[in-house]
Each structure stands twice: as C-alpha cells, then as structure tokens.
Symmetry: C2
Subunit: 224 residues, 2 copies
C-alpha cells in the first residue's frame, strides 16, 4: 500500500499547541525523529477502566509508524484505543539563581493517536525487526528470529507518527539578566550523560564465546 509521506512540519492541533514559554516547541518532523531515534524506551499512556495507566515499553519506527511492544497494555487495548506515547531524554539540571527558575534540559516527544494491534504477519515481522534493530542494531541478523508461535504470542502495536508535540530545552538558566543575577550565586547546568557499558556475558555461556562486534563496539558510546 503506497501512502503519501508524512509532512515535514508537524500539525498544530489542540493537543500539540505549546502553552509554556520556557521550553522550545518544535514543529520539525526531523526533531521528532531525532528524539525517537535517540532512545528505545517510551512511556505509553492508555485508559484502563476510565483511568490513565502509564507503562514503559520498547519501540521502533519507520517513516510513518511507531511500533510498540504492547504486552503490558494489551489487556486494555480492545480494538482501536486512544493512546499517548512520550519519549523523554533528560540532558541536565538547570541550576538557576532562584529556586523558581530551576528546571531541566531535556528533549521530549509526545505522540497522540489511536493505537492498533498489528495483525498482518508480514507487517508484524517487519515491525518487530524495526523494534529489535532500534534498540539492538545487528541483533535481527544475529539472533534467532521469531517462530510463528512466538510471533503469535507477541503483541505489537502501531501508532501513526502524524500528530506529535516536540519540546526541547537547552542552555543556561533564564535568570542571568534579571535582578537575581546581582545575588552573586553560581548558576549553570549540571549535565547528565548516559553511556553503554561493557557487555556482561550470560553466566550460562560456554567459556570463550566471543562478543560479536556489533555489540562490543557500542561499549563506551553515548546513548540518548
């Protein structure tokens, strides 16, 4: 099925219009995609008995769809369900002169829509490939792929990347040119960085099983 590509600019809707000043809202699809590509765990919000439930889960994507591992939420997903998926990277603490101006440097994407369960076996396999390669590049070729039975036992959700809200805050605190600057206090950012560590072999492995290069080479690299 051929579809029009999604527009490079994100749509302004009641849900995606930004209401606060401090953070920078972005309407660039490229920013949405960069935030999604920098992580692999999202927070999926669904309704259960009329109340919100927020569950962490893994995801992958293509140009149009976000694919989510949906087992945790599956009991609440009968048919098409309104969801909100949020991916957040925390880049640092913003330490201002005043408590009021304290904040967080972050990149966050919020996707609104209706999730569908993926039932077509071909799309499901491709979605799972995207999801696997998103968090663990190279593993789809290296590990044993899902059997028919495993595929059936997996709940995969798809959410269109159409309606999304992106917020990014970077840089110094906002009270550097206000009256609080005269307080003489230190102000700035305390950055947070996430890195991949050294692969830890399963104790059940036979001694000498080599770490494949696609895993080994991530050690020490930045994540997020």
């Amino acid at each position: 099925m051929t579809q029009e590509p999604l527009p490079a600019r994100l749509p302004l809707t009641d849900r995606t219009r930004h209401r606060r000043l401090r953070e920078q809202g972005s309407l660039e699809r490229a920013d949405l995609e960069a935030i999604l590509d920098a992580g692999f765990v999202c927070h999926l919000g669904v309704l259960v008995d009329g109340r919100p439930l927020v569950v962490p889960t893994v995801y992958g994507r293509d140009e149009r769809w976000l694919y989510l591992h949906g087992s945790v939420a599956s009991r609440s997903l009968a048919g098409e369900t309104p969801v909100c998926v949020t991916v957040t990277h925390v880049d640092g603490l913003v330490l201002a002169r005043s408590v009021f101006e304290h904040g967080v440097n972050y990149r966050s994407a919020m996707i609104h829509g209706t999730a569908r369960k993926v039932t077509d076996p071909e799309e499901k396999l491709e979605g799972l490939r995207r999801l696997t390669e998103h968090s663990a590049p190279g593993q789809w070729s290296y590990a044993r792929r899902p059997s028919r039975k495993e595929l059936a036992a997996t709940t995969l959700l798809a959410l269109c990347l159409e309606e999304a809200s992106v917020k990014i805050r970077t840089g110094a605190p906002d009270d550097g040119d206000g009256p609080d600057a005269a307080l003489g206090l230190w102000a700035g950012v305390l950055p947070l960085t996430t890195v991949w560590g050294t692969p830890e072999p399963d104790p059940a492995l036979p001694a000498g099983t080599a770490v494949p290069d696609h895993i080994a080479r991530r050690a020490g690299t930045r994540h997020g």
Copy 2:
C-alpha cells in the same frame, strides 16, 4: 495532622497485581522508595478530553506524598483527578539468543491515585523544598527561595504513595537453559549507566564565580 505511616508492604489491587512473568514484581515499599529516590523525572499520565496525556515532570517526596511540578498538566486538573505516575530507570539491554527473549533490565514504579493541587502555603513551600532537594540537593539553602508571588504561580500536585506497583528486571537473558543455548550465540546484558558531568557555568556569570561544593561534588557520580 498526624497520620498513620503507610504500610511497609504495598497493597495488592486490580491495578497493582502483576500479570507478566519475566519481570519481578515487588511489594516492598522500600523498593518503591529506592526507585523514586534514584530519579527526579517521572511521566505523569492524566486524562484530557477523555484521552490519555503523558507528560514528563519533576518530583520529590516525603514518606506519604509524591510532589509533582504540575504546570504542564494543570489545565486538565480541575479538582481531584485520577492520575498514574511512572518512574523508570533503564539499566541495560537484555540480548538473548532469540529475538523473542530480548528485553530490558529496568526498575520501574507506577503510582496510581488521585492528584490534588496543593493550596496550603506551608505544605506548598515544604513540597517545593522536597522537590528541589530531590533533584538538586543543597540548592534550597543556596538559591533564592520562592517569593509569595512565585509560590502562587507554581502548580504543585500531591499524590499519595499508597497504591503502587513496582517491577524490577535484573540479570541475564532467560534462554540460557533452553534449546536456543545450543545455537552457540553470545548472550548477555549491555549495561546502560547515567552519570553527572562537569558543571557548565551560565555564560552570564561574572568570571571566577566559584562552583559551590554541593554542585561540584556530583560531577562523575552515577545517577539512577
């Protein structure tokens, strides 16, 4: 107001009962508190026009209450509102022999309840102190505290730490003793670690403004 302390064991409810095997559910309040204390950004799920909205925000806590910065969600919080707050730490990728057994090592706490806006000025100030000290220990004494006007302009939410669900996954993949072990593939965990970096001074600071010790000493320490 004196209240009974919350029980050391978390209650089993329809919402907190664990349904999946791979993760370990914990009913220990100490695990809940450790997960909350290891982070400072949560994902707050609320309902807006009958749909879920998941927003990242900062939090702090005391023995009974989780305090949340609620500005983003405030438009949807008229009176008491059902919410779900989730805090997740991602500790590593679980790389199994089969794609199906791939997963994530993580610690996650999900708190269910009804959020209230904090209106009592004394509780609000104390809640903000907890919230500030939670992410930036030492800043409540160092930075300028909120004025009456700033306090009024801040939305602080409180959520009782009564009903919560804790899930923790640690260790190696689960297919080390199954038929896939014979495939001879490497399997294990690729750990993720988050660390505080070197403080970045606000460019607006006068040259030579010293970084206070309570900030400087966090550089290089682990977060999460």
